[in-house]
């Protein structure tokens, strides 16, 4: 798998391990079913993340959200957009850790994923190779503006218009 954030491809500091094997690893992702066991044996400063399905109700993830450093939401296919909504709901519920989208997303979804609250994308290697890093970064750059307010994106058009009205007196 290949990890990508808004600066490009980068090494993944997290390792996927069952809770019984996390000792000695600075950053691990454990299966959701293992999370309580993992938190029990967590060492000081050790970062723990969880893998969740995109069908997990946000309310079920919220109690965990304050205890883990990373939540990885699975995208079974790129056309399954449930992960975008789940990310939004987790952010709304105050999750401040790392949000990771895991699966065969396409570069054309990168800006959307970031706007919904994701920090990074973990891609199958074959997909990452075929699509290339440049296409992902290009997607972040292509729109200078967007129409939705309250999404984690650059300038939104509605607020820009308001600023123009106030600034320019138009």
């Amino acid at each position: 798998m290949t990890l990508l954030d808004r600066h490009g491809f980068r090494p993944d500091p997290f390792r996927r391990l069952p809770a019984s094997e996390i000792a000695g690893h600075p950053a691990v992702i454990v299966p959701l079913a293992d999370v309580q066991a993992g938190l029990l044996v967590r060492a000081s400063g050790q970062r723990i993340g969880i893998d969740i399905a995109n069908t997990l109700p946000a309310e079920d993830a919220v109690p965990l959200a304050n205890q883990v450093d990373l939540i990885a939401i699975a995208f079974p296919g790129f056309a399954d957009g449930r992960g975008f909504t789940l990310a939004r709901r987790l952010r709304r519920n105050g999750f401040r850790g790392i949000l990771r989208a895991v699966g065969p997303l396409i570069p054309d979804q990168f800006a959307y994923a970031m706007a919904c609250g994701f920090d990074e994308v973990e891609l199958p290697d074959a997909v990452a190779t075929r699509q290339g890093e440049a296409a992902w970064l290009a997607d972040l750059a292509i729109y200078s503006t967007s129409y939705q307010r309250d999404y984690a994106r650059g300038q939104n058009i509605l607020d820009a218009r308001r600023e123009a009205r106030q600034g320019g007196g138009a």
């Binding site: 975008f84 909504t85 296409a135 200078s144 129409y147 939705q148 307010r149 994106r153």
Partner: protein
């Protein structure tokens, strides 16, 4: 009408650049065909039976003369010099080459148009009453809110990979001419019964396709400043919970049906309660900015029904028939909205040549403040014509073959492209419409029959809205033959209803006779002033069923 500011213009240009790059990445193999497909669909590009089709958005059916001329040019340069208006107020070009699409999108951007989200599993082009802003029965013009929704739904980061397509329609009038009850969301602008404040009544879960359903009320009164937050909440519930295991069960109507409207409402309200509408909604100044674009044109102070108009009608029965049939009452005295029928006898419903587009554009400039509307019944409208100029307009239209006096009559047939174009179709639609139009061609006979909506779909996906036709015709394929299933009693208006199947399927050549038999029952039993669909409601389906089946029991079908 709405004009792009620098932000809208930049956005559409960015989108053209993005799609051009996507095409390049597809050609280079970086994107697979599966990955490219939703991207091209969200830019309006379909792969049809014989060629690519490009579906261009005409937001809420409003076009300027300049835009229509550009469409004429695109038709000439890249298609076969004609275009096809659809039941969602869009325009399709059916013979496009993929390599030309970026250039066409660029030509569209030149006139503040695009093909964004005219297809794909996203929020589609917002539709509205074609008489918005001019109808006498209007509480409020629906176009400003339709434009607000257009902007809000464009390239939405959370709702661009929905379970299925999502269609929103808006009306601000007492009579529903936008078929809001058969959309995923239907908005009606209403007055609060106590405060008199205007807001929205929200319907959800209507739709046609293989599981036709009439929408249900999810919110009786939504204050205007809550609109976008409420839509966000509703879309979020759908995106999270709509079915993705079966594309035929993925529309929001199925979710509403399966969990029930009460449970659906509770989920939307719970989501909505967690949102701060002021963070999502456009501020009041922005709403006002949009609304100003739809301010009424500079109408002259005119007497209603002036002598020149009356004299022209009296002197020319053909003009009189057209004015009566295709005219629509305008809220301003001395003006008239008028339907330009794209249903000439024997023509393909909704088709218009590039030359026809130019004629309409010129006439719009001359007689209707340069504005044209597209109707979901696949006709055009000039919304603001002076009654004392209507005769001149009619003569010019007649010379161009665009003065057919059949708006709302039995030959004003809605038909999808069908098997002549569409990769999904199971039967032809256009030839059935043409045969029926020829059968009922006599203007006198059409007048005698009165308003009657025939709607034809060439497959179960129901793009021709057959479920809500007073008479609906659905083309299927049975053992390699086209077979047409006839329904009766559908209604797309205020009394929205899904038609009932009358009997076994018919061969194409038997359809006109069968429709004749239905019309004959109506003519024999109608009460004075009673419309076809009203007679169907009063009499019930049985007498029609009996007549329909009387002569087909011995058929192989």
């Amino acid at each position: 009408m709405y004009r792009y500011d620098e932000f809208d213009a930049a956005f559409v240009r960015d989108r053209v650049a993005q799609f051009s790059a996507q095409v390049q990445r597809r050609l280079a193999g970086a994107l697979t065909e599966d990955e490219f497909k939703p991207l091209r669909l969200q830019n309006g590009v379909y792969l049809q039976l014989h060629a690519y089709m490009l579906r261009i958005a005409i937001p809420y059916g409003t076009l300027s003369a300049r835009q229509l001329r550009q469409l004429a040019l695109i038709g000439e340069r890249f298609d076969r010099s004609y275009g096809h208006f659809t039941t969602r107020q869009n325009l399709q070009f059916n013979w496009i080459q993929l390599k030309d699409v970026p250039e066409i999108l660029s030509l569209l951007a030149d006139v503040e148009m695009h093909a964004i989200q005219t297809s794909g599993n996203c929020i589609r082009n917002v539709t509205a009453d074609q008489f918005a802003g001019v109808a006498a029965d209007e509480i409020e013009d629906p176009r400003p809110v339709a434009e607000l929704i257009r902007q809000w739904s464009t390239a939405h980061p959370e709702f661009s990979f929905l379970p299925r397509k999502f269609k929103i329609a808006v009306t601000g009038a007492a009579e529903d001419r936008a078929a809001v009850a058969v959309h995923d969301i239907g908005l009606r602008i209403v007055r609060h019964p106590e405060t008199g404040e205007t807001g929205y009544a929200v319907l959800v879960g209507g739709g046609l396709g293989r599981t036709p359903m009439v929408g249900k009320w999810v919110r009786e009164f939504l204050p205007k400043p809550h609109l976008l937050a409420y839509l966000e909440a509703l879309m979020r519930v759908y995106n999270a919970e709509g079915r993705r295991d079966n594309k035929y069960k993925a529309r929001v109507k199925i979710l509403v049906h399966e969990i029930g409207i009460e449970a659906f409402r509770a989920r939307v309200e719970a989501e909505f309660a967690r949102l701060d509408p002021s963070r999502i909604q456009a501020d009041a100044e922005e709403v006002a900015r949009i609304a100003r674009y739809f301010a009424a044109p500079a109408y002259a102070d005119l007497p209603d029904n002036p002598p020149a108009f009356r004299r022209a009608r009296a002197a020319n029965p053909e003009f009189d028939r057209w004015a009566a049939q295709n005219g629509f009452p305008h809220k301003v005295p001395g003006y008239q909205a008028v339907t330009l029928s794209l249903k000439g006898i024997g023509e393909a419903p909704g088709d218009i040549s590039s030359a026809g587009m130019r004629l309409v554009a010129d006439l719009a400039d001359r007689y209707s403040f340069g504005e044209i509307r597209v109707t979901h019944a696949q006709n055009l409208v000039l919304p603001d014509v002076r009654q004392d100029e209507l005769f001149d307009l009619w003569q010019a239209l007649a010379a161009g073959g665009l003065a057919t006096a059949n708006a709302g009559l039995i030959t004003d047939i809605i038909a999808c492209p069908g098997l002549d174009y569409c990769a999904l179709a199971t039967a032809r639609s256009i030839p059935i419409a043409q045969a029926l139009a020829r059968r009922f061609a006599s203007p006198e006979r059409q007048q005698e029959i009165g308003p009657l909506a025939i709607k034809i779909s060439g497959c179960i996906n129901a793009c021709g809205h057959h479920h809500v036709g007073h008479i609906g015709i659905l083309g299927l394929e049975k053992r390699g033959e086209e077979s047409y299933q006839i329904t009766l009693g559908g209604d797309a208006g205020n009394a929205s209803a899904i038609g009932e199947i009358l009997g076994p399927g018919l061969g194409a050549e038997d359809v006109p006779d069968a429709i004749e038999r239905l019309v004959a029952v109506y003519l024999a039993h109608r009460q004075p002033g009673e419309l076809f669909v009203e007679s169907v409601r009063r009499l019930g389906i049985e007498p029609f069923k009996t007549a329909f089946n009387a002569e087909i029991h011995h058929d192989a079908a």
